[in-house]
Symmetry: C2
Subunit: 411 residues, 2 copies
């Protein structure tokens, strides 16, 4: 039965779709399916004991503040803690450069709201994070895809894209979602140079940077953008830097942050006032209590060791079980790796059969805003334990061997 609402949708709703991944996740929620589809942290690494103690401490000592409305910018001690951490691995900022958001997705939405006019071009890696596309599609963004290889965005191809006059460049330099790739130092430097030369700013999305299993931490893009540091030491750069507690602590508290020049933060704060007033004070105060005394530095070591083991098991099993015509990236950290099927194969068709065999992944096409990538797939290795990964990759291997054998052009 129809109601007057159904004739009244705004034009922008035509550009809004359901998230392919979230819809897929529903399909794979059946308990007997092994899913490499989601982007979920391992629940084993959630610091339940510390959360419990922090909840009790906050309610006992600051209950009235924790349960009340709070400032849009975010809980100041938490912003100070983030500023101190950020100074260690990225860039020197003050709490005035930081806005707390309800997850990084909200930061992406606000960036769209503040910067994207309908028809604006955004430079993205190909493949890129589908959540950013979903956020910015609502604002009518168009995308210029720059191809990637195992060292991330191929910056030699970037200049051509910048000549089109994009609004900004979007990169995930560390253990990219979905590709699992890491932008090399040389390319980071080249990216910052070109961005400066063409006057095009950069959004650096870094949810996984702390989750490096091997090799040295590379300087973040924002830290290479040194020429835009103000005389007073305040950050006035042309990089907006995003990170999150979803991977360091837990996604269920919905806490992330944006680092940007103060003037940009003010615009983002206006967006947040209109969008949801403020992020839950309780959650911010609990995260601060959990994180404040160096806990994060210890805890991240546990996460790294668990995820490294899972990556190793997944790759070992893929080497053993997958047909030789299937290839994949070997991420140095993070939560995802990227599979490449023979180019005649369609990962969506593989998924249909895989689901029958009780294993799932995300076909790669949706990570390509301008098409392509039909023969690619994203596999998450953080969520499932090693035993489950072994069984799931075995099931996938069986499916892939059967399908590759059927391909007329592969022999």
């Amino acid at each position: 039965m129809q109601t007057p609402w159904e004739y009244r949708y705004a034009n922008r709703t035509k550009r809004m779709g359901s998230s392919v991944i979230r819809e897929l996740l529903k399909l794979t929620e059946q308990p007997d399916i092994i899913s490499f589809g989601g982007g979920l942290p391992a629940p084993e690494v959630f610091p339940l004991k510390e959360f419990r103690a922090a909840c009790n401490y906050v309610l006992d000592n600051h209950g009235a503040q924790a349960l009340q409305y709070s400032t849009t910018e975010g809980y100041r001690p938490l912003r100070e803690m983030i500023a101190q951490r950020t100074a260690r691995y990225a860039v020197s900022v003050t709490p005035e450069n930081i806005l707390i958001t309800s997850g990084s997705q909200q930061a992406l939405d606000f960036i769209g709201r503040v910067f994207i006019n309908q028809g604006d071009h955004i430079v993205v890696e190909s493949p890129t994070y589908v959540g950013a596309l979903q956020a910015w599609n609502a604002y009518g963004a168009q995308y210029i895809s720059v191809p990637s290889d195992e060292n991330g965005m191929i910056t030699d191809e970037l200049e051509k894209a910048l000549r089109i006059g994009p609004k900004f460049i979007y990169v995930l330099p560390n253990f990219q979602n979905p590709g699992g790739t890491t932008l090399s130092l040389e390319r980071r430097q080249r990216l910052v140079e070109l961005a400066d030369q063409y006057g095009v700013p950069i959004v650096e999305d870094d949810p996984y940077g702390q989750l490096r299993f091997e090799g040295d931490h590379l300087p973040s893009v924002v830290s290479l953008d040194s020429k835009y540091r103000g005389d007073d030491g305040c950050y006035t750069g042309n990089v907006i830097y995003l990170s999150t507690f979803s991977k360091l602590l837990a996604p269920g508290i919905r806490l992330a942050w944006v680092i940007a020049p103060e003037q940009v933060i003010k615009k983002l704060v206006q967006s947040k006032q209109a969008a949801d007033l403020n992020t839950a004070a309780f959650n911010q105060m609990v995260a601060y209590e959990v994180g404040k005394d160096g806990f994060l530095d210890e805890h991240v070591k546990l996460i790294r060791s668990i995820y490294k083991e899972r990556r190793d098991v997944m790759i070992e099993m893929m080497e053993e079980m997958f047909p030789p015509s299937v290839h994949w990236t070997r991420p140095l950290g993070g939560m995802f790796l990227w599979g490449i099927l023979p180019k005649e194969m369609d990962a969506a068709e593989v998924l249909n059969i895989a689901i029958e065999r009780k294993v799932a992944f995300v076909p790669g096409e949706s990570f390509h805003p301008n098409g392509g990538g039909k023969n690619t797939m994203r596999l998450n290795f953080s969520y499932s334990n090693p035993e489950t990964i072994r069984e799931g990759i075995t099931r996938m291997g069986t499916v892939l061997k059967e399908l590759v054998a059927k391909q007329p052009s592969i022999s």
Copy 2:
């Protein structure tokens, strides 16, 4: 120092302003100012003990689920609980008619996102809730103001507004923010009739409906819209109904909900996927544990008795201290009352002097999207205790008496 970002703001940012109220709240955060300006619940009514028990229970028994990503629609047991409560005082719905949002402000934002094209007209009461204006300004809404009196929107003036072809009608029927007025039953019926006749749907915002101090509960607008009930019992009406836990439990957990036909919920879910993926599972599970066994019904009695006392003290003091040319509404519930100064006076100027005398309120002009209301003001009575209210109203009375005495046209 400027950065490339500052030349790149989207056109819509020109329509986005800072929230007058939130900026004002910052000014009045000095501890010696008595502020009737905010819209804060009394911290004395926050159920800290119950929250503490619920946090521990959730972390001990469902920790991995509570700290993980979760469904965009919201925690199903919480949606079931809301459906059951809603059936008692408003309308029969299923969890499929409910989306959990991060506060009602987010619901208002999503309604703007899904329904408002630039230039669309929205019918609002005059005065109306400024947060809705702020949410919808970003989407380029224009407003048709329908005047209100002590019985809420004057529905005799509504038909003229509906002939302009608005996208929807926005009403706060119970103890309105800012007016403190309640829409009479007769006008509720007339509103639903006219909305049906013109095919214009209604957004009913009901954060305070449960906080009635006296008189009988009036049927919600959504419950009067009976002709759009589907044959299967599912709600398919032309009212979108909003409510929240911010006033029943605590605003610091950021939990509210939208009730709408299932097709509309699906569009709102798409908005939420793009905007912030999901509302914190932890918060939803804690609210469910606090609320599930009838606690809300008992707790709301405490809130009512405390707020009633504060309203009574405020009005008693106003009668004693304010000059006779100042008038006000007498709300039957909620958190706000509305003051009307002699029409030559400007509440913003009164506020400047009031702040010097360490008392604050919100001038009414910003609640009028099409101008007017310069001589009006919103006073919150829920946040301050009776003693503070006495002192604050005494201070305001002194200021008002001085200013009224200076007005040449009043004698």
